[in-house]
């Protein structure tokens, strides 16, 4: 088996809060191979974002801490790494694009300076060279008139344009992995499609791997090769994208797929959108056994006794369910 680019093993990221320990990520395994797009899906609060931020060690510690596991980046564990060593990986090898383009850029610097900052740090360019590269990057992400726009401030850009700037910034040092943390959630629908298309285009150009975090199943179906479904801090199903949509095994995954809005059905058959009943259990005192059991229509007694192991149902298709 070839060495994975990123291999997260049994990662546990916990947070100390006033109410107790929140096990936001509780034993997650996740592999990303070179040039692969992996989707990470799940409801809000299931630990997707914490997993992503753990990879770059962007979790505030305290209150957060790594309670166990490994984050192997090209075979090297990132968790014990010193801050200075970690900084050599950030943006240079692993870059991240956040959910909120409106607040993710610093309002007091020009977008050019913010892109140039990365290049000057990692590629030791002069300011002028870095700005030239920033112009190239802005052109690459289809920002019109990049030579002028490079000197503009973030408030002079729209949300979609800012997300393009964020992508330009993330890709400026040609990272091997791009983590996209719900990059389209805050944008309106037409812009969402453009940003996804842009990411696809950039992937073809630079050949980086992408970890796409989202709660939109439609986005996953379009862009990913492999999908990891998370629920309450754990991976419940992992499969190639065709297998996941063609033969979803976990009741939670089945629920997620059924809750994708279908405009045609809603309009023609007046069908109501199906929702998964209930809410995500508290991560303070997770129930013993399967964390989805309370909301699962197939739940049996065994489900509430022990956490079911991840089992392989077909090649590359894993599911954490007794069914």
């Amino acid at each position: 088996m070839v060495e994975a680019l990123l291999d997260i093993r049994d990662l546990k990221t916990w947070f100390a809060t006033e109410d107790g320990l929140v096990r936001a990520v509780d034993g997650v395994d996740l592999r990303i191979n070179r040039s692969e797009t992996v989707g990470v899906v799940g409801e809000s609060g299931c630990g997707k974002t914490v997993t992503a931020r753990s990879v770059l060690k962007l979790i505030d510690m305290p209150p957060g801490r790594f309670a166990g596991g490994q984050i192997l980046w090209q075979g090297r564990d990132l968790i014990p790494l010193q801050a200075a060593e970690m900084d050599k990986i950030r943006s240079k090898e692993i870059a991240i694009v956040f959910q909120e383009p409106m607040t993710s850029l610093n309002p007091v610097y020009t977008v050019g300076d913010q892109i140039a900052e990365v290049l000057r740090e990692h590629e030791k360019l002069t300011r002028r060279q870095a700005i030239e590269r920033a112009v190239e990057m802005l052109a690459l992400v289809n920002i019109p008139n990049p030579k002028m726009r490079v000197h503009d401030y973030p408030h002079q850009f729209s949300g979609g344009m800012r997300q393009r700037v964020m992508i330009a910034m993330a890709l400026s040092c040609r990272p091997k992995l791009l983590i996209a943390d719900e990059p389209t959630t805050a944008l309106d629908v037409t812009i969402q499609a453009q940003i996804l298309e842009l990411m696809q285009e950039m992937k073809e150009k630079f050949g980086m791997a992408i970890m796409l975090i989202t709660h939109a199943m439609g986005v996953v179906a379009e862009t990913c090769q492999r999908v990891v479904v998370m629920y309450a801090g754990k991976v419940v199903e992992e499969a190639p994208v065709e297998a996941l949509f063609g033969d979803p095994r976990h009741p939670y995954t089945q629920g997620l797929i059924r809750s994708i809005p279908r405009v045609d059905r809603a309009a023609v058959h007046k069908e109501r959108l199906e929702a998964i009943p209930g809410t995500v259990p508290s991560l303070l005192t997770p129930p013993p056994g399967c964390r989805f059991a309370q909301r699962c229509r197939f739940a049996k007694d065994v489900c509430t006794q022990a956490i079911p192991p991840l089992k392989e149902v077909s090649a590359g298709h894993f599911v954490r369910c007794v069914l």
Binding site: R53, L56, L58, A83, A84, M86, D87, K88, I89, R90, S91, K92, A95, I96, F98, E100, T103, S104, L105, N106, P107, V108, Y109, T110, E117, V118, E121, H122, Y153, H155, M166, M169
Partner: protein, 320 residues
């Protein structure tokens, strides 16, 4: 920063100064006390002479005509004549102003130099031992009024230890390094008292400003760039956190001048603060008017500086 913004701010300063001068003049005219009050009760001066003097100086004219008279004279560079010191008000003020500006300037500088690093360090390690100590000291610092700490320092360093002089002299005859040494020695206490008082409240303000910024999304973005925590804090946190701090420092200038009046009185500093107090006590209205107007000008000036700094620190402002 656009030039238009600069010019607009400068032009707005003119009507505000005019308005301030009008208010000052009216308040002083309404206030009890009369520069020639003494003449009326002095039996050696006949009432006709007193009345003639009042008429000569226009003291019985209506307020608006006296104000216009004062204003036109001001524009021609005539600030009036001190009844007590028997000299022109502008010469008197210019004699006293540098001392005040040096003491206040040094104190403000001290406040900023102390408060910025402490506030930033405290905020980047919230609830640490350092933060707790800094907070406690800051709390004590701004709870103690300057007249109390001033007297305490005089008692300790001038009377008990006899290290520092407790009367400020502006007639030091020594030259060169000796002069600098004497000047420093006599300025230390007033500068410390004013500066640390200012610095104490500034520490808490810087801390909360930094805490507000540190959790923002773009700081996480900056961290993800791998530029190192120091650059993240200096470039991305402190730079934005400074915006409200600049406002506070500028808005506090009137309080600083007010505090300087008290401090000058305690340390016997011959600045414009003590000039103001003695003129008020002596009913020397032209000087009172002149000094308060200079204070007003300084406050407006610092607000202008704050506006410019503000526009330089936050590009979103100048575009409006």
């Amino acid at each position: 920063m656009s030039r238009q913004y600069l010019i607009r701010r400068l032009l707005i300063a003119i009507p505000s100064l005019l308005g301030i001068s009008l208010v000052l003049y009216s308040v002083l005219a309404l206030a009890p006390g009369d520069p020639f009050g003494e003449l009326a009760t002095n039996p050696a001066i006949p009432p006709e002479v007193a009345a003639a003097l009042r008429a000569k100086f226009g003291l019985d004219d209506p307020v608006w005509s006296r104000y216009l008279h004062w204003l036109t004279a001001m524009f021609q560079g005539d600030w009036g004549f001190s009844f007590v010191s028997r000299m022109n008000v502008d010469t008197l003020i210019l004699q006293r102003l540098p001392t005040t500006l040096i003491v206040i300037g040094a104190a403000q500088l001290l406040a900023i130099v102390v408060a910025l690093p402490i506030g930033v360090l405290a905020a980047t390690r919230p609830y640490s031992v350092f933060d707790q100590i800094a907070n406690t000291l800051a709390f004590i610092g701004f709870s103690l009024p300057t007249f109390f700490t001033g007297l305490l320092l005089i008692l300790l360093f001038s009377i008990k230890l006899d290290w520092l002089p407790f009367v400020f002299r502006d007639d030091i005859t020594a030259t060169g390094l000796q002069w600098l040494w004497e000047e420093t020695k006599q300025s230390i206490m007033p500068v410390m008292v004013l500066g640390l008082f200012q610095g104490a409240s500034l520490v808490r303000f810087v801390r909360s400003a930094v805490l507000d910024v540190v959790r923002l999304d773009y700081v996480t973005t900056a961290r993800s760039k791998g530029i190192g925590e120091r650059k993240v804090v200096v470039r991305h946190v402190v730079r934005t956190a400074l915006i409200p701090v600049v406002t506070l420092v500028a808005l506090q200038m009137p309080i600083v001048f007010g505090g300087a009046i008290v401090t000058e009185q305690i340390f016997r500093i011959p600045g414009i603060g003590s000039l103001l107090i003695s003129s008020i006590l002596a009913n020397d209205t032209p000087v009172v008017m002149g000094v308060t107007f200079v204070f007003a000008c300084l406050v407006v000036l610092f607000n202008l500086i704050a506006d410019f700094l503000y526009a330089w620190l936050d590009p979103r402002i100048a575009f409006r």
